[in-house]
């Protein structure tokens, strides 16, 4: 369950679990989280928690709400975010167990109307065997994954480290009008040739560069040998012939 850690001048004051769907922060006593300080508005901000996600909303406070040094009106809280209210700091901590997070990550589940609050309430309650009332049937028969799931990472960043390990490569034209021209293969896909006549594509993958025939009666020729329909992994200094033009593939150091 997510929580907030309240501190001032580096001194930890208390831990506040986000147990309610909506928790308000302010100077007045009716707030769920009361901070009695003049820099804080009577009703300063609210945190709405839905399942595992929490959202911070400024309620039109006089001095505003900052997260990680930036003024926000509405903010989707990420683990480790620091909410600043005057001299006070509220650190948002939401450590999802890695194993569970990645195992559940792709499991599509149905959320029926009315389930949401129930589910949110369940998450707040101490864990017992038969929580998850609404979606129990979906979850119960799911066997625990046997193989350890790979390190969880969002799709966007997942590609980056793999790419970083791959050295940059380029194509240099050896014949024809564009002789000497260099094309660096930075994109996932680079197409070569003339559309409608002959086209090949070079795919940049985590473990190398692969050339594949796309269209045209002629197939590309690599080091004097024509390709078949399969992808062909390129090696440093391979010579590619395509639509009458020769070019060299090379790895940039």
């Amino acid at each position: 369950m997510a929580k907030l850690i309240l501190s001032m001048d580096g001194l930890m004051l208390k831990e506040i679990p986000l147990t309610k769907e909506r928790m308000t922060i302010g100077r007045k006593p009716q707030n769920d989280i009361q901070i009695d300080n003049l820099a804080i508005s009577g009703e300063h901000a609210a945190i709405v928690t839905i399942l595992n996600d929490s959202f911070l909303e400024d309620l039109g406070s006089t001095n505003g709400t900052c997260v990680n040094g930036q003024q926000v009106s509405k903010h989707f809280l990420q683990n480790g975010d620091v909410i600043e209210l005057g001299k006070y700091r509220l650190k948002y901590v939401n450590e999802v167990p890695q194993q569970a997070a990645s195992a559940d990550f792709e499991k599509t589940m149905v959320l029926r109307p009315g389930d949401m609050l129930k589910k949110a309430a369940d998450q707040g309650a101490p864990k017992t065997v038969d929580t998850q009332v609404g979606v129990k049937d979906m979850l119960a028969p799911t066997p625990a994954p046997v193989a350890p799931p790979p390190a969880p990472a969002p799709a966007v960043t997942a590609a980056a480290p793999a790419d970083a390990a791959l050295p940059l490569a380029a194509i240099q034209v050896l014949t024809g009008a564009n002789t000497g021209k260099e094309l660096v293969l930075t994109k996932t896909l680079t197409t070569l040739g003339k559309p409608g006549v002959q086209v090949a594509v070079i795919a940049r993958r985590p473990h190398g560069y692969f050339i594949t025939h796309v269209e045209g009666a002629q197939f590309p020729v690599v080091n004097g040998k024509p390709l078949d329909a399969q992808a062909h992994q390129l090696s440093d200094h391979d010579v590619i012939e395509l639509a009458g033009v020769k070019m060299e593939f090379f790895v940039k150091s």
Partner: protein
């Protein structure tokens, strides 16, 4: 009317890099202009059963109904919408019935996205978070809008599109086929142009590969649909392949107007279809 000359279709379905079973199911019938993709959910093999039932039932019924209708007169878009709604409702009943009567299928369900190409138009029905995209010229757009908790949060302005990438509630769908006795189907129809490429996919693709990369792949490899489908699956797997990945690609080669003879016109005018 045989549409297989007007529509070029490629399909691919892959378990991905983590899962051992494939709960996705795809079906393409270019002759009748029907494409269907379903992403099943439920324990053990129930997900496969649900998605398999959805594609098989719908595929058979839609193709048959179109075959019958073509023999008499052209279907108009309203007919097609009714047909889709009826057949999807029927498939929903069958899947729900199976899940209620067999304990091992309890709670199973499936997403669905289906396109029916007819008379230079396309009817799209969807339930859940399986998507359809369109590439027209250089413009890449999402045709369907997910029935998911995350999409609802985006619509309500609670969460921005950028933040949505990092949300943990990505996999909650608000509608699915077979989980209840009733189902609400979303159906729209669109004008189709020669050169258009339509992509139907399960979330195993769009969760692992950015829209920009998908768009680029369609533009680069649109001339070779089979290779394009393979490349999309490969990209999802290269990025981790944490879910089953399925794609259906449809390229419009030429216009496909329904033949309108005097006979069908008269029947149409008389309201006999």
């Amino acid at each position: 009317m045989d549409l297989s000359q007007a529509l070029e279709v490629a399909t691919r379905s892959d378990p991905g890099m983590v899962r051992t079973n494939n709960e996705d199911s795809v079906l393409a019938d270019p002759v009748h202009g029907v494409v269907i993709l379903a992403d099943g959910m439920g324990g053990y093999n129930a997900g496969e059963v649900a998605s398999g039932m959805a594609t098989a039932l719908l595929g058979t019924e839609l193709s048959r109904a179109i075959e019958v209708a073509d023999g008499v007169a052209s279907l108009d878009m309203a007919d097609l919408r009714d047909l889709l709604n009826d057949e999807i409702t029927r498939a929903n009943g069958a899947i729900h019935q199976a899940s209620v009567s067999h304990p091992q299928y309890s709670g199973m369900g499936t997403t669905l996205v289906t396109g029916v190409f007819h008379d230079n138009r396309m009817s799209v029905a969807h339930i859940g978070d399986s998507r359809m995209y369109r590439l027209r010229g250089e413009e890449f757009s999402q045709v369907t809008r997910d029935h998911s908790f995350l999409q609802e949060q985006i619509d309500a302005g609670i969460i921005s599109r950028e933040d949505a990438r990092h949300a943990q509630n990505k996999n909650l769908v608000t509608r699915a086929l077979g989980v209840d006795a009733r189902v609400e189907v979303e159906i729209h129809d669109y004008e189709v142009e020669p050169g258009d490429i339509y992509l139907l996919c399960s979330d195993g693709l769009n969760d692992m590969v950015d829209d920009d990369e998908i768009s680029m792949t369609l533009q680069a490899l649109g001339a070779n649909l089979e290779l394009c489908a393979m490349q999309l699956v490969q990209m999802a797997n290269d990025n981790g392949g944490r879910d089953n990945v399925s794609v259906i690609l449809v390229k419009i080669r030429k216009p496909f107007p329904s033949p309108r003879g005097w006979f069908s016109r008269i029947l149409g005018r008389a309201g006999i279809k």
